[in-house]
């Protein structure tokens, strides 16, 4: 297969170790102190990016773009770390990365940004992203971006993508009950919503980081505000469930007694 044009859609999410609380503001629901929360690249988008970089490395001449809808100041902070992981060209739409924004509006902005990429050959397009996100978690954006771009061969929950010499691709998608569906698509263009993939997070490479930031800083600086105002979505309430349980702590008790109690509970 010749060179690939891989576009990865991915945004930022609050660091998963943070405590999150919803609050209603003048522009709708948001996270309390959202702009103060440390952020990371969405984990599934990260998997997609690392898979994209690995594929591009195997196919010389390939290009990888990371298209992100996020507040650009916050995105810049995250990119300082992500840029050291893999080479890519950044495309930025400056707007909210909130889980409470409409998935359709998010898809519309991303599709518009992708259409504006100079040099992108849609005949070679592999559109990557996460099959879910750690914010909205709709698992719907990638399908809509693909549909808006006219890409109708789509896969979700992808853990493995194998490119064949004839240009066709074998895809392993997660389905119910811990099984995989194996499909073959004749070639690009296609959409791949990645699950975790099979690659670990790459180690930091400061040299790649420097190269990335040199070409990607202008994209951050020049990012245009995204318009997500077209939604009729109304959230009437958002609440963290009352989840505290009264935990009975069993300690300083013989292992045999603990095991007996667990078995009785399992059999009850």
């Amino acid at each position: 297969m010749s060179e690939l044009h891989i576009v990865v859609c991915g945004s930022i999410v609050p660091d998963p170790l943070q405590t999150l609380a919803p609050m209603e503001g003048p522009t709708g629901w948001a996270l309390k102190n959202e702009m103060m929360l440390p952020a990371v690249l969405d984990p599934w988008a990260g998997h997609a990016l690392y898979e994209a970089a690995a594929l591009a490395k195997k196919h010389p001449g390939s290009r990888v773009w990371l298209v992100s809808l996020a507040p650009k100041a916050k995105l810049q902070q995250v990119m300082m770390a992500v840029s050291q992981k893999a080479p890519f060209e950044l495309v930025v739409a400056d707007g909210p990365a909130s889980g409470f924004t409409d998935s359709f509006e998010t898809a519309r902005v991303l599709a518009g940004a992708i259409k504006g990429i100079a040099g992108l050959d849609t005949g070679k397009l592999l559109l990557f992203g996460g099959w879910q996100s750690a914010s909205r978690g709709s698992g719907a954006v990638m399908q809509m971006v693909g549909e808006m771009l006219g890409v109708t061969e789509q896969f979700q929950g992808v853990d493995k993508l194998t490119l064949r010499d004839d240009g066709s691709m074998e895809v392993k998608e997660r389905v119910e009950g811990g099984a995989y569906q194996i499909s073959v698509v004749s070639g690009a263009p296609a959409v791949f919503g990645w699950a975790t993939g099979e690659l670990p997070e790459p180690p930091n490479n400061p040299q790649i980081g420097m190269q990335n930031m040199q070409k990607n800083m202008p994209a951050l600086m020049q990012a245009k505000p995204a318009d997500l105002s077209g939604s009729g979505l109304k959230l009437s309430a958002v609440a963290v469930p009352q989840q505290r349980r009264e935990t009975r702590v069993v300690k300083d008790v013989p292992v045999d007694d603990m095991a007996r109690e667990i078995v009785e509970w399992l059999k009850a």
């Binding site: 549909e147 975790t196 109690e261």
Partner: protein, 337 residues
């Protein structure tokens, strides 16, 4: 009169999955509450038996069937769903959030110039308006929402409604859909054998294995072989489902030993699943709130941990056994026989 369309696909045995029957209950309730007409659309290789199984709902039934619709493919499933939605001029479309429909139906919102909301945890009528509930930020907060756009495509997670029951003899109006241009062919499923499969969504108990199983124990050595045997013996004896608190990708990337039968799909919480089981037993798990979202839909929860203050357990589970999981689980297995 406006139409609420219930969409379903058949399983490989030509039946409807329980989650589809649950979504039908929600769709029927929505149609009745809104005073809309309920219509059913079924997609699959052969939809006759599936249509009969829900004939008692009294709705008109459309079918898109044939070999081209036997397998789950985005393009063919979407084309079929679009044909049914256009045939009945659906204003609201309710479907189960199966992997097949989760792949295809977001695209339907674009085709119909509508909107989509997925993985709903509830669907009601409030003040004459459809109101949906869903989780945000990995099951950490639940929101209540509605929207003005139509058509509105909704997918409902499993376990959020009572399965519909009402078989009969159905009359199906067949719709013809051309999928000859689809470029994807499904070559099969890769499933572990029933004995090897340790992800069992219908199991009563979930055993969550934490990263502690693969770390140095009191003697300063790693005992992954013992961990594997202990976990497998428990799963064999109880037919429990297995989850892991960390993905295989993360563990291998950090240079830790890996339990051989854990796959990416075992992970619960964070980037994994949020399974629904009556009981959950976590072992060697550590972490705070984000790691614990895997617990969200587990009924009774117990944990074995050497740390009495562990965030995975304190306030999250009903009973915490402060002990070495290797020793406790060995004894548990002995008692289970």
């Amino acid at each position: 009169m406006s139409t609420v369309l219930f969409l379903a696909h058949t399983e490989c045995d030509a039946t409807l999955h329980k989650s589809a029957l649950e979504a039908l209950t929600a769709a029927k309730g929505l149609a009745e509450g809104l005073g809309h007409t309920l219509t059913v659309g079924i997609i699959g290789a052969d939809v006759a038996a599936a249509a009969d199984s829900v004939a008692g709902c009294g709705a008109k039934i459309y079918g898109v069937s044939g070999p081209g619709f036997a397998d789950a493919r985005y393009a063919s499933d979407l084309a079929a769903a679009e044909a049914v939605a256009r045939a009945c001029e659906a204003q609201i479309i309710v479907a189960p959030a199966t992997s097949r429909f989760s792949r295809a139906l977001p695209g339907l919102a674009v085709r119909l110039e509508g909107r989509v909301d997925t993985h709903l945890s509830g669907l009601d009528v409030v003040g004459g308006q459809p109101v949906a509930r869903r989780w945000f930020y990995r099951q950490r907060m639940e929101g209540t929402l509605t929207r003005s756009e139509r058509p509105w495509v909704l997918t409902l997670d499993s376990g959020c409604a009572v399965p519909f029951s009402g078989a009969g003899k159905a009359e199906v109006e067949a719709l013809s859909v051309d999928v000859s241009s689809v470029r994807t062919a499904v070559s099969g499923l890769e499933c572990p054998s029933a004995d090897q499969q340790t992800i069992r969504p219908d199991a009563r108990v979930l055993l969550v294995a934490g990263a502690g199983w693969t770390k140095k124990q009191a003697d300063g050595a790693v005992h992954v072989d013992v961990a594997e045997e202990t976990i497998l013996n428990f799963l064999t004896a109880t037919k429990s489902s297995l989850g892991s608190s960390k993905s295989l990708v993360d563990i291998s990337g950090e240079g830790h030993a890996v339990i051989s039968f854990l796959t990416h799909m075992h992970q619960v919480g964070q980037t994994g699943s949020s399974p629904r089981h009556a009981k959950g037993l976590s072992t060697c798990c550590h972490g705070e709130e984000p790691h614990v979202v895997g617990w969200r839909f587990i009924g009774e929860r117990r944990a074995i941990n050497t740390d009495a203050g562990c965030g995975w357990a304190q306030g999250k589970c009903d009973v915490l056994y402060v002990a070495d999981a290797f020793a406790v689980m060995k004894k548990v297995n002995e008692l289970l026989g």
